[in-house]
């Protein structure tokens, strides 16, 4: 099954991040492609629900189908590139530009990534 994102509520101090300013966590699940981002299944992303993205930002965007979110990296030309096996944004007239996608499609900016080791057996 392809990569997908699911909202989670981590324990501990990380909980402080969730709250009134529209901040939340998403967990990366499914089949994750190992690319230059080196993301892994189980990674938690701290998201600021902000549609104002800049070049270099990792963002979550709405694919347009049901409740489906995907990760993408904003390039220097403001185009979104697919990461970790998520579907690439649909390309129109030489590629989709972040601002031309409209604010509705970008659901948040990744501010951090939490990766936990499993307890040693």
């Amino acid at each position: 099954m392809k990569a997908w994102l699911q909202e989670v509520h981590p324990e501990g101090k990380a909980k402080q991040f969730e709250g009134e300013r529209g901040t939340f966590f998403l967990e990366l699940r499914g089949e994750v492609t190992d690319d230059a981002e080196h993301l892994r299944r189980g990674d938690l992303f701290a998201i600021s629900a902000d549609s104002d993205a800049e070049p270099g930002d990792l963002v979550v965007w709405w694919t347009g189908s049901a409740a489906s979110l995907a990760l993408a990296r904003v390039g220097s030309d403001l185009r979104l590139s697919a990461v970790a096996g998520f579907p690439p944004p649909s390309v129109r007239r030489g590629g989709v530009r972040v601002r031309s996608l409209g604010q509705a499609s970008i659901r948040g900016v990744v501010v951090g990534r939490l990766r936990r080791l499993r307890p040693a057996s």
Binding site: G12, A14, H38, S48, P55, D57, V109, G112, R115
Partner: protein, 405 residues
């Protein structure tokens, strides 16, 4: 493009370090609620608690008797001499393979600057990931790591990641990361400032970052600007490895006694113990002292100090003992109880003691000191003590319930 040529700073913290080391020594402790500390009969306190014990509300500095009441199945272990130091050195040896720029904060905490190591280890976050896997595989200890462009944000991030986590704050997102957090999450904002900020309806760092500067300046004065910069995640404090740190001009040790005293034997023993610990620090740093100061404070807060300049720079407590005792004798003339005693060594120069190369007694004495240092490094500071200070240590252990038991 963000993140291309910025600093890469890690804050590394060993999870429940003392407990983790005890579990390496005795794997039967794994998975059980464990604390390290002295027994309740000796008025011991919790020095470290496992995550299983913390689930019962047990935390560091809690009286052991209270911890045992909260969790009747709690396993208590006394500290193991030397084991923590050895484990810490082994961990830092691994970290040192990734960067020489390490600032050790304590036995279980450090900052690492990985800037410029990308061509060797890839991105800092990937190096951090390898680091903690390597430490686990080789030493069976877990690291928690915060990664970002500066030490302030990395420190906050590592608190997020506990236990066994790696939290990587994306470059350029420092302010967004901090914004939803309570103001007390920022290092440097203590309970008093937190209360004042709450009174001003500033509960979160994002609100603090956006508040008008003039308003904060009215309340907090010069402290307001750095506080606001830090709330935005801005920090350019360097990671300072030992060779870049400003060397102390003096090294000393002073102590306020639990009860005021006029017992001269006690004062002499204290002075000797203070000289032992201070000269050991000198030797660790490869320094010699030319100046000795002894300080005395009486119960009525009258404070006196006397200096002596030594004929030859030394790092040897036995050579300092006689002049220190003479200074003490000259000062302790009032018929008033003493509340504080301290020694300070100044006139520091780099070097190792060479006194009396051709004097067999001095050579023997030098060998003795170096053997004592090695024994103490291996088995702990209290493993070998001057006879005069043994009863002192025992008396203090009884009084304070030393965690080492």
């Amino acid at each position: 493009m963000k993140g291309a040529s910025f600093r890469a700073v890690l804050h590394v913290d060993l999870d429940a370090f003392f407990v983790a080391v005890e579990r390496v020594l005795d794997p039967r402790l794994c998975g059980r609620p464990v604390v390290v500390g002295a027994s309740p009969s000796r008025r011991g306190v919790v020095a470290a608690a496992s995550y299983e014990a913390r689930a019962f509300g047990i935390h560091s500095a809690m009286p052991m008797a209270q911890a045992l009441r909260l969790c009747p199945n709690l396993v208590r272990v006394s500290g193991t001499h030397g084991a923590y130091g050895r484990a810490s050195r082994a961990v830092f040896d691994v970290l040192g393979n990734y960067t020489p720029v390490i600032e050790k904060v304590s036995v279980d905490e450090a900052y690492l600057d990985l800037t410029g190591t990308e061509h060797l280890f890839g991105r800092a976050v990937d190096a951090a990931d390898r680091m903690r896997r390597e430490v686990r595989e080789r030493l069976r200890l877990d690291l928690t790591i915060g990664a970002s462009r500066n030490r302030l944000v990395s420190k906050v991030a590592s608190a997020f990641a506990k236990p066994m986590g790696l939290f990587d704050v994306q470059p350029g997102q420092e302010a967004r990361f901090l914004a939803p957090l309570p103001v007390k999450a920022l290092p440097g904002i203590g309970p008093v400032t937190t209360r004042r900020l709450h009174d001003l309806n500033i509960p979160r760092l994002g609100v603090l970052a956006d508040t008008e500067g003039w308003f904060l300046e009215e309340i907090f004065g010069n402290y307001s600007k750095p506080m606001q910069r830090r709330a935005r995640g801005e920090d350019d404090t360097p990671v300072s490895p030992p060779w870049e740190r400003h060397e102390a001009k003096t090294i000393g040790h002073e102590e306020t006694f639990a009860a005021d005293t006029d017992d001269h034997a006690f004062l002499r023993a204290k002075l000797r113990a203070q000289l032992e610990s201070t000269t050991r620090r000198l030797r660790e740093k490869g320094l010699l002292a030319r100046k000795l100061t002894v300080k005395l404070r009486y119960a009525d807060f009258v404070t006196e100090s006397r200096d002596a300049t030594l004929p030859v720079a030394t790092d040897h407590d036995i050579e300092l003992l006689q002049p220190a005792l003479e200074l003490l004798h000259r000062m302790a003339t009032r018929r008033t109880l003493v509340r504080l005693l301290g020694v300070r060594l100044g006139g520091l120069v780099q070097g190792y003691w060479q006194g009396g190369l051709f004097d067999p007694r001095a050579r023997r004495s030098r060998r003795l000191v170096s053997v004592l240092d090695r024994v103490r490094a291996k088995y702990g500071v209290q493993a070998v003590r001057a006879g005069e200070t043994v009863w002192l240590a025992q008396a203090e252990n009884r009084r304070h319930g030393s965690f080492l038991g």
